[in-house]
Symmetry: C3
Subunit: 443 residues, 3 copies
């Protein structure tokens, strides 16, 4: 049976295979690519439920935009050769491009082209969700090789009232306190940002579903970035503020470079404490960013008035790797090994959340552990110094109802799972009992 | 029209001219020199009001001393040559010297002489306010050249019941919260300690009066040191404790050496936060002292039971420069450039106080800045990283009602005026609103 | 007359003599050795009262064990030569050995022998209070020289229902707030751990009794380690929690090596602040341990639910010196000089507790010290800088009712007794008054 200690059954290789299946789907903020992606994920995650929200539905300061779908789109030169074709790589088309059927000169075309001079082989990822326009993205080499035209532009898209699509899954636990795992499904063919997020989320969800029980209720959400989280928050704000105890945005978690951590707005939540403890216990090299470096849905989850305890654990952080938002962010950059590392880190974070209980001594004074077989009965010069005994006595000393397991772990210098195992032993021996967690600091 | 951003119209040269006019006046704790000084300042500062307090009036543990006025005073040698003459330099006479008309031997005179062996060309500044005596101050060279006498001593002074004189000016603002600017007018001919204080205070007052509006009410006080602030506090304590949000003692603020900062008793008040931020934003080298180094009216303003939020921003701190309390503290030591620097620092401190508002988001989630023209509508690899956009988003993230502009400036690494300008733009866009400042920490 | 400033009359030589008298007594957790020890201490400390607690009496999670007394015990070889004899050194017998009269082979004997290979001339100290067994401790050289036997084992002990014995003494003070001094009397012939503790406690008690008055009430307790403090706490918990403001466990305080400090559970109590200040003021080199390094009755005093403010000031800490819990911890390791140092440190700690008052200014503003002869009446360049005057003004500035004398000492950089002397002068001058101590921080 799957266990908290053993971690997910799915491996980095499984996750890479799922990402490979999802890679070619033409995702955007809305549309059938999102639906196809969610359908694939629902096969992995039974119970994942898709929701559709009509264009124009308000979400705080925002409203749901028009839906966008692409039948075909290409840029061809004078002799009909297709230079940039959505069917070849969906990054070639600026997301939310309006329909066009025209023949243009090079000069007329130029303002609609996007490329990256310093990355001559990369197709950039460009969107224009909230201003009607159109455009093509191509490599700098392609652009340099363009003749004078005329060029044939065909963009066969639908852009109009429709629906925004997202999915969620609530995996119930012993408590109605919740852990939020949020990831996004609005980027076309890129692997670290974004497919690593949904596949790690799916693997975590499959593991959590398979566990015999969970202390926390887990809420997994798969949505388009920004507008999706705003819509989700606007529908569930009171519930989320009342129940979410920790949360993570899952993104950029599949390459093999260093790990990254972005804190919540003040960096003091349970999600922050768990993130740092997980990195520490696994001995990972990690770049610690500040909330000023945020860039994904934590912008919404941690905004004033929302104030959810949400952090991010990543590998190469968005905006901080050369391949970011280009066609170079592909399935060679994201690897089975890289995905396994990201999954292991998040699984350990969940392990720490689940282990993070609070205990209090049952009566004053140290309990007599010797008569319970937990303390050596012959006292010699070194018996009090045995590390297992000292570890137990140290956990006992700080199991005073003001510390949770992470606090105790920091004080006594032991990993959280060891602290929890010791405290469980002491609980079974009847010398400590679990109590509700102490209140977090006011900010 | 004068503005908060532009700073005072008066220049260091103006201030130096005022100080030159005030320099020869024979000031002391009380008397006509104080009155003449306040009359000059009232010409600069319309509305400045003089108050007279009778000898014997109680002020907490103290009472107003006798008034002292000097008609003439000199020390002459056997042939009638005047060696030290109050008319030549009013530092020659110990302040509060009682009347004397006598002829003395060198031995009899000696206990009444003051000089500084290590500064042979300096006349020291000596007072004896609370013990009746008399004395002359002269340079060490003069003292070394004295013969055996006899010496003629003429001190034609009045020392008896009269009045203590001080002045104040309240410049009203939108709020009845106050900023206190306090300086003293009891030192004879010395330039840094003290004339730099009154002239910088006058220039700040003229600027504040000329501004179209002020958020804070400004209270300027010109008084004799120690007994003056005690009298002022004893008359206004409840009002000042209820209304003063920040204050500064203005002294030693006109030379060209390094800047100095003396904190309030615990260094945690708005005046302290503003002082440190102003020094930082102007990029000034500054010696940071502790409250143990205090030495002027902050001794009273920050005493237990008074507890006003008062700090000091200076150039060369009293007691920490060789010229201190001697005739070398003159108008070559204090310069137009030095005064301009001191004025600029205090003007920036006031700018920060005025800018230091607190804002809160109007609704949860990030506002949609794009439709207000405040966010790029085409998203490319670098658009989220534009520093102007990031700065705005960062101000938004921390405009949560728990931070004032100084807090936000420290968190996001921008100057306070830039934070305030951004927040004002966001306020005009309707996405944040101003709220009352959060309560300061308990101490 | 003895005074707080002068310190105890008894010297390190006196204490060493007492320890020499007590050294041969066969102490254990219970029994006549404890009674003989307490009787000797009662001669030094009039009023010390002995209490007897029957076997089986509950003490939180524990109960009082059987009483143990030894008539004689030896291990002899085949020819009757006594190899290990309780009468020669009471460390030879494992504490709480059950009665035995047997002849054994070497192989049968071996599991009952204890020695230390790396300290071949040391007899180890071994106990087995809570599991019935027997054993002999001998040097490694003795053990290596043992033949094949047979060996004669005679352990003539009583082990059965009886009493646990401890003693206490309450020396009343002006307040019913208490200082707890706790030491233990359950170790056989060892000098640092433990006789240094009881003799330093006795000297402190004699000093405190001789003082003309005390601000605090002092509670001295002499008890068997662990079970003794548990019994004591179970009988007095409510009283101790309500009254004890600071306490120390006295142990390992008589050798000449470095000083040691073990904090209370969170290191924030008055006992911790006093300990660190005392070490600092005496300029002692001191190893600062954490509560994870605890090992004596502070385990009980600082346990959750007891939470007394108890720290430890030692010389070589238990477990951290080679001689620990062996016959090498003798009266050459503990010296008159070493005991004097420990006594001086604890006496200074008590001096700081007694001096640690809280004052508040009588009225706002600085008082006029000049008219009280406490401030120079002629002001020259340097008069404000006189250190005695500045020290007095600094004490005044922070005597605001939120700081006790230790806080003020830390802020102004003066020793606590100097702060207290200055504040007493100011109190006599009527400018400050004593108020109750501010509440300690919540943890």
């Amino acid at each position: 049976m799957p266990s908290l200690a053993d971690g997910p059954d799915d491996t980095g290789a499984d996750l890479h295979r799922w990402a490979t299946d999802l890679f070619p789907i033409g995702r955007s903020l809305t549309g059938d690519g999102v639906r196809a992606t969610l359908a694939y994920l629902a096969d992995l995650l039974p119970g994942l439920t898709t929701h559709e929200v009509p264009t124009g539905t308000p979400a705080f300061d925002w409203s749901v935009p028009d839906e966008w779908n692409v039948r075909s789109a290409y840029l061809a030169d004078a002799d009909g050769t297709r230079i940039a074709d959505y069917a070849v790589n969906n990054l070639h088309l600026v997301s939310y491009s309006e329909p066009v059927d025209a023949t243009l000169t090079r000069a007329e075309l130029e303002p609609h082209l996007h490329s990256i001079p310093e990355l001559p082989d990369a197709i950039p990822y460009v969107t224009s969700y909230y201003r009607r326009t159109w455009g093509f993205c191509l490599t700098q080499r392609q652009r340099d090789a363009l003749g004078d035209g005329p060029f044939r532009i065909v963009i066969d898209t639908d852009l109009g009232p429709g629906r925004l699509t997202y999915a969620d899954l609530v995996i119930p636990g012993d408590s109605d306190d919740e852990v939020l795992l949020s990831t996004y499904v609005c980027h076309p063919s890129m692997a670290n940002n974004e497919l690593s997020g949904p596949v790690v989320a799916a693997a975590l969800g499959r593991w959590l579903q398979a566990l015999p029980s969970r202390r926390y209720t887990y809420r997994l959400v798969f949505l388009p970035e920004t507008i999706g989280s705003l819509v989700y928050l606007s529908r569930h704000l009171d519930h989320l503020r009342a129940h979410v105890r920790a949360g993570w945005v899952l993104t950029c978690i599949g390459d093999e470079r260093t790990y990254s951590y972005v804190p919540s707005r003040y960096g003091l939540t349970l999600a922050d404490r768990v993130s740092l403890q997980a990195i520490d216990e696994l001995g990972l090299a990690c770049d610690r960013y500040t909330f000023l470096d945020r860039g994904s849905d934590e912008r919404q989850y941690c905004s004033p008035g929302v104030d959810l305890p949400v952090a991010s654990l990543m590998r190469s952080k968005y905006g901080c790797y050369a391949e970011y938002h280009t066609s170079l962010d592909d399935l060679t950059f994201v690897t089975p090994t890289g995905l396994q590392g990201g999954l292991d880190l998040m699984a350990h974070a969940i392990r720490l959340v689940e282990s993070n209980r609070t205990w209090q001594a049952v009566q004053p004074g140290e309990p007599q552990l010797g008569r319970r077989g937990l303390y050596p009965t012959t006292s010699t010069r070194s018996s009090g110094g045995q590390s297992s005994v000292r570890n137990m006595m140290n956990v006992l000393a700080y199991a005073d109802g003001t510390n949770d397991a992470i606090d105790i772990a920091r004080i006594v210098g032991q990993p959280v799972p060891q602290v929890a195992a010791t405290a469980t032993l002491l609980e079974q021996a009847g010398v400590v009992r679990e109590i509700p967690a102490p209140l977090p600091p006011p900010r």
